[in-house]
């Protein structure tokens, strides 16, 4: 996992995930102190299934299965030593740890091309809506002779993973309502996809934004705008909820 965080820029946020998890556990330390400790043998069953998964991963199934086995083994150890109450309390940090697992290759390969084409379509729509002439051929945008290829690296997976993780953390910190946490996670998906389309449209409209530092800065600003949108969505949901309750 460490190697993937180091080499894959889609996954480099993996370095931050354990830090955030440790911080959440520390924040919840009083709650953990009051939990009853009731060790159960069911933990051994989880540990055994984790070992089985690790064995299958070692046979060549892949890095994802091996990393998942690591998480299942942690859940097994918690269950073994603390019991079900401890596992329930640790469920959120463990779920958050899913964001540090390597990308599942079969899902990634299946979603890459549709996401590339979706980003191309959204970018073409934005440019057309702004009155800028654009011809789209598959994942290629032709903006007045300036051709932009929406390649694999522009598929938006990076925005999706990063914003999904942030939505979960924001939901945890800002709201105790489970539905709000789920709503924020679901809202992060269209926000990230639209933001990626906007990024591609910007690169198509202004050739100077297509590469190098301006491209990185534009990508950073658009992500900050995504964050602001997510906070706005939370406030809108809250207002609607208060209105509904009253």
């Amino acid at each position: 996992m460490f190697e993937q965080w180091r080499t894959d820029e889609d996954m480099s946020h993996g370095f931050l995930v354990p830090i955030v998890i440790l911080w959440i556990v520390w924040r919840e330390r009083e709650r953990f102190r009051t939990l009853p400790t009731q060790p159960t043998w069911w933990g051994l069953a989880l540990l055994a299934s984790a070992a089985g998964l690790q064995f299958v991963a070692a046979l060549g199934v892949g890095l994802f299965a091996g990393s998942l086995a690591f998480l299942v083994s942690i859940a097994g150890a918690v269950l073994c030593l603390g019991g079900f109450a401890w596992l329930r309390a640790a469920a959120f940090p463990l779920a958050l740890a899913l964001f540090m697992l390597p990308k599942l290759a079969i899902v990634y390969n299946q979603t890459t091309l549709p996401l590339q084409l979706l980003a191309s379509r959204i970018a073409a729509g934005i440019l057309t809506g702004a009155g800028i002439g654009v011809i789209r051929e598959g994942n290629i945008l032709d903006v007045g002779g300036h051709r932009v290829a929406v390649v694999e690296a522009c598929n938006g997976i990076r925005y999706l993973l990063s914003l999904g993780f942030i939505a979960v953390v924001l939901g945890y910190l800002a709201d105790s309502k489970t539905w709000m946490r789920l709503a924020l996670l679901v809202a992060a998906i269209p926000v990230a996809i639209l933001a990626n389309g906007l990024r591609v449209a910007a690169a198509g409209w202004l050739p100077s934004l297509e590469a190098g530092t301006p491209h990185l800065i534009a990508g950073w600003f658009i992500f900050v705008a995504c964050m602001a949108t997510l906070i706005l969505v939370r406030q809108l949901f809250n207002k609607a909820y208060v209105h509904y309750r009253s």
Binding site: E9, D10, M11, S12, H13, F15, L16, V20, L59, G60, V61, G62, A105, I106, N109, Q110, T112, L113, Q116, L117, E137, G138, N139, I140, R147, A149, V151, E152, A153, C154, R158, Y159, L161, S162, L163, F165, I166, V169, L170, L173, A174, R199, A203, E210, A211, G212, H215, L216, G219, W220, F223, V224, M227, I231
Partner: protein
Amino acid sequence: MNKLTVLLFWAMFSFCLKAQITLGSTVDTFGVLAGSTVTNSGPTVVLGNVGVSPGTAITGFAAIAPGGPGVATGVIHSADAFAGTAQTQLTAAYNAAAGLATTSTVAGDLGGLTFAPGVYTSTSTLGLTGTVTLNAGGNPNAQFIFQIASALTTAVGSTVVLTNGAQASNVYWQVGSSATLGTSSFFSGNILAFSSISLGTNATLQGRALARNGAVTLLSNTINTPAGQSGPPPPLVTPAPSSLILVSTALVGIFIYQGRKKILKPFRTC
């Protein structure tokens, strides 16, 4: 005399070890090249030229009658001189790859294996289930050449992973008969097939599908043609900021948002 023989033998051995395959400057530009036909169904994207020679039929692409859902960012060459030159260069590269001295033999299935740069020979068919890793050991010029006497077949969802600087343009699959890539598989390298090449639905090829005599069949695929040794320089890498930067920024933003009352308090009391 004996010393001279040893010296000559060592020189030949060293040459074999350092053998490098190059595609020609014309065939380099093709993502897909067939001998008889190129047939596409679904929204295939080929980043590069598509061509056929000596055959003439290319179907399923928007840029050639009767049209179709496929897109090629390059030019469609149907039995023209350019495609003919590409086929000649393909034959030369195929023969060069087939003639290299072997580093090691392989058999059966490559799934779960990791290969260092070298020439690997299979005397029969070769398969791939799961993941095979090609590790260049930090040398971006390292070549991986697979000589396969018969067919190459990859399973559904199988993957060729390139690590430590390995480049798709430096991977060659010399296939004695036909190559078939499984549905949703992710394959890397230049496929130089004696007969035909078939890509399963949604399979992705980071490389080239080059068939000497037979057909190339595509089904909603992505073929990303890498820049070859004699081809155009690779495009500028234009990544979005890494997720580490994005998430760090967002976490700082969340903490500011959460602590906004405390932060703004001194200003309000004034």
